[in-house]
Symmetry: C2
Amino acid sequence: MKGRFGILFFLAAFFVLPVIAQQKTSSYVLVIHGGAGTILKKNMTPEKEAAYKSSLKKALETGYRILQSGGSSLDAVEATVRVLEDDSLFNAGKGAVFTHEGRNELDAAIMNGKTKAAGAVAGVTTVRNPVSAARAVMEKSEHVMMVGPGAEKFAREAGLEIVDPSYFRTETRWQDLQRAIREDSLASAKSNAYTNPGKLGIKNRDYKFGTVGAVALDQQGNLAAATSTGGMTNKKYGRIGDSPIIGAGTYANNETAAISCTGWGEFYIRNVVAYDLSALMEYKGLSVQQAGNAVIKKVGDMGGDGGLIALDKKGNMTMSFNTEGMYRGAVTKDGKIQIEIYK
Amino acid sequence: MKGRFGILFFLAAFFVLPVIAQQKTSSYVLVIHGGAGTILKKNMTPEKEAAYKSSLKKALETGYRILQSGGSSLDAVEATVRVLEDDSLFNAGKGAVFTHEGRNELDAAIMNGKTKAAGAVAGVTTVRNPVSAARAVMEKSEHVMMVGPGAEKFAREAGLEIVDPSYFRTETRWQDLQRAIREDSLASAKSNAYTNPGKLGIKNRDYKFGTVGAVALDQQGNLAAATSTGGMTNKKYGRIGDSPIIGAGTYANNETAAISCTGWGEFYIRNVVAYDLSALMEYKGLSVQQAGNAVIKKVGDMGGDGGLIALDKKGNMTMSFNTEGMYRGAVTKDGKIQIEIYK
């Protein structure tokens, strides 16, 4: 009998201990952003600052609980972004900015770093949580990207919550649109054409942009990324920014990083920012921090601005931006919550 | 007087000769594709083959004349793609495939390798030449991508030719839709959900896809790329493929290459194929041929198929594909026209 126990102990040591060891070294991390721009402490009231921090904390706690209990990074980023979409402080879901025509047109994307499966929707006006529509496109269709009424029809058929377009409306954003219409028409009186590449005619863009996003690493070592936005205040002509474009605003690959961007979308599309960060890690051996800084520098060199969050498979993260501030936060490997707004 | 002539000769040698020298060493190249798929010689009639070759030749001659007379690569790729859009043999512009609802929804993109400016439209139904709408977005708006009715409104205001949606209809494509509706509904009866990443449920895709594209190098050493497509037969829900997505189906950068892709769009989006080719050249030092083969291998490894054309600043080109055939052609540095269809 002693011999058999010996064998059992041997087998246990062989099969069980490595699993325990793996669990001990595994780390789960969640990083979020709520948009980048000219966010200056002098312009912020203590109440407003507290409200933003409280919202970011709530989102982080929601996603972290999922990771802590062994849930997937995909579930974590979706749940986290849903909290930010439901929060009217951020330009995504409820509280999204208005188009020129006075509508809220929402874009979102999600990507699974393990399988490189991806889903995205753009220009939806009735789906309460666009990030969940993006996930449905990824998991329940043969496609990656759907836009407009077709995407809404799909979301409805996939059983997602549909709301009246008025659900997304907030008075603050409506006033932003009125201001943008006044200022843009003054600006366009001077120059209506895009003639000088890199010098686009978007004026006073600080209150126009805004995005939310989350990247996560789960206990299984899988990465995921999600991004959601209302786009740009006073946007016209069915404009789509970088958020729903895989490779531009959103990307995830277990071998490199999960990335979610925020900022002046046109520059992020032209620089294929999210995938460029991954490529710099894969092909040049840069760390996630080095790659994050490099791609933000490229955006800046071209005349654009914004930021991003990125997380690698070891739980190393970066929150790079070249604006005055970026709403951002993380739950790090040791379970500590970090929330920051300014540079 | 002799002295003054001497000075003039000196000045002429200084200013004029370098220009001549530059013209002598500069090379201009144009490469096009008309879609990749199961194109087998045994299924092709001599008449059909001749028609395809004649159409490809006409497109090549149109773009090459522009390059030859010192025009820009941007003008060349736009003019070349317009010829292919106007030709009902290819799935772009007239002759585009039908959506599930029996509409022709067109996507296109263009990118300037010198400035990395880019423009794209998706889901337009009334613009005769979507590639020109993409160029208008690039040059006359502050945006990169516009979709749906907004993009059509913009194209109209930009003065582009607007046609009745029936202009795009061909009987062949209509029959393809009827066949796809029958076959897809049989397929979806078995499996309607995307459950196994990498194994999408698209059946009989050979007659469903198709794209046209052009890449060019002009006498000034500038690269440009353009792509145009009707997307996928029987597509639903406002699906968008890779063609209008900068970095996925279309990309250009003077430092690396101009790229236009064709194939199973979902895999091209997930692999960010066009930009990946550029990144492999920039970060790993691969040649355009090596990079082209590497990215097509990645698409194949994931379960997708298709092809691409790419051209670097020295006029080196590749036409990589993993399908049975790809309609393709080039005018090489020595002015020779090459046209091929099969492997």
